[in-house]
Symmetry: C2
Subunit: 296 residues, 2 copies
């Protein structure tokens, strides 16, 4: 018997699961049948689109709820077309892919803060998060505030460094980074970075691209030869794009019944493949499901 | 100021940290100054070497302590040169890279068990693990049994699906997989697979290769065109190789003072970069450090 498809049962397409009610419900089926009311359209001013010269698109949802000054900087840099022609310059295995200005000398446009505040955490008050019932190694509580994976303790809350989360490269403290250097997590969640660096969003599309670049051979995964740099054609906000160029995304509302059903099932798989339900799931394995919305 | 090197302080090379005693100790410095007695040479019968046709080597340490029947199968398959000419056939982003026989029809050599037992966990007794003092989302306890990251509860122990761990592809239960199909974790630890599938080891070299293949576009990340398959030139045990072809590895003993100092520091970084120590670290972020040993 062919053994290539381990976890086939884990991801059976929704339709077949629904057509055969004797099979246990799958996470995919819950996403597929979730009503539109359980999804939230992403604001086009919060969607950052990176188009590479060699083809390939990366789409990031910004998180002004946690890092308003850094999100404002990034929007201003995009509108000034400041990132255009810069590079992916660092790929460190099981850690991050980073892009920006390898020279570190490109002048910032007007209106971009040189020294934004340290938006590493914020007051927990006002977030109304969906709190997960499971233990976390790093924090008292974890959960989701809107679309954002977060942890909290002592009245403070912060986003968590999960696979696909985007942060702001910085130098040593008190530098907080301008947003001119950004990175995406491409490995196991480096949660020790939480509260030490500003997270500004999540990659909604293009992780398959960001995570599969050749690893850099220099210190910290830096590319050491200019020929290795991967050129960025342009970076824009979705609100600046029109027609078929403009992407639309919807993220499942974490306060919705669908999200609760989906995350609970992810924590308690028992079916033809999963014989031992985990009984829990960590915050980084349940980033909210997405839909590429087809209409405005 | 150049902002490309976030986390530079996190990985300062050992020598510079030692030369400047005013700087806080780094994890790298602890590894660099660890005595030889704190490392364990890997048995050459436990080292599986995969050489790719297009170049590139992957080295895996097998874990007979947790999966003796599957490790025996894999050794027998390597000695029979059964894997030679097979393929990397599946790369699913944030999950696994898998290799084996895409046809699923290649006959197994004599001496390979068709239906090994379900080595998904084992008795905790006899392991003498180094138990971590921090919470885990999925288990009562986590720690290391020799070189192996593990979790335990109710007298049972099992290896954990961390980045770089290697498992045995299987079909639906009660199939446990023969070892003819293997996968390596290339994303955030999919711990829900723990106790549902046999883990058989850890990639010691070549994760940069396994994690950077193009993602497959088929269901579960399968490559859909034969041209996408990545050819395996040969798979051998280190004990079958001689001369410069034969690799030697040492893994830090998890019962050593060096490992305790290193993992404790990883949990409590406070230096020019880390302003907020995490106070904990999860089992998957502290797989034992390695040395490529230069002599027998």
């Amino acid at each position: 018997m062919k053994r290539t498809l381990f976890a086939l049962a884990a991801t059976l397409v929704a339709t077949s699961a629904l057509a055969q009610p004797v099979r246990p419900l799958t996470p995919g089926a819950i996403i597929a049948r979730a009503p539109s009311a359980d999804f939230q359209a992403v604001d086009p001013d919060d969607l950052l689109i990176i188009d590479l010269f060699k083809g390939g698109r990366i789409v990031i949802q910004l998180s002004p709820e946690f890092a308003p000054a850094h999100a404002a900087n990034i929007r201003a840099l995009a509108r000034a077309q400041w990132y255009d022609g810069l590079f992916i310059e660092r790929v460190q295995d099981d850690y991050v892919t980073q892009w920006g200005d390898p020279s570190g000398k490109k002048a910032l446009p007007k209106g971009v803060a040189e020294r934004p505040p340290a938006e590493y955490d914020r007051a927990a008050e006002g977030l109304k998060p969906y709190i997960l019932p499971w233990k976390d190694t790093y924090a008292e509580q974890t959960g989701f505030a809107g679309p954002w994976p977060m942890a909290s303790a002592d009245g403070r809350a912060w986003m968590t460094h999960c696979y696909g989360m985007v942060g702001v490269g910085r130098d040593l403290s008190p530098d907080t980074g301008t947003g001119g250097e950004l990175y995406a997590v491409i490995g196991h969640a480096p949660r020790a970075l939480d509260r030490n660096i500003a997270l500004v969003g999540r990659v909604l599309e293009g992780m398959d691209i960001l995570a599969s670049f050749p690893r850099g051979e220099g210190e910290l995964g830096m590319y050491t030869k200019p020929a290795q740099f991967i050129s960025i054609r342009r970076v824009r906000l979705a609100s600046e794009l029109t027609g078929p160029d403009r992407p639309y995304f919807e993220v499942m509302k974490t306060a919705s019944p669908s999200f609760k059903a989906w995350s609970d099932l992810k924590a308690n798989r028992k079916d033809d493949f999963f014989i031992h339900p985990a009984g829990a799931v960590d915050v980084c394995t349940i980033l909210p499901p997405l839909r590429k919305a087809r209409t405005k």
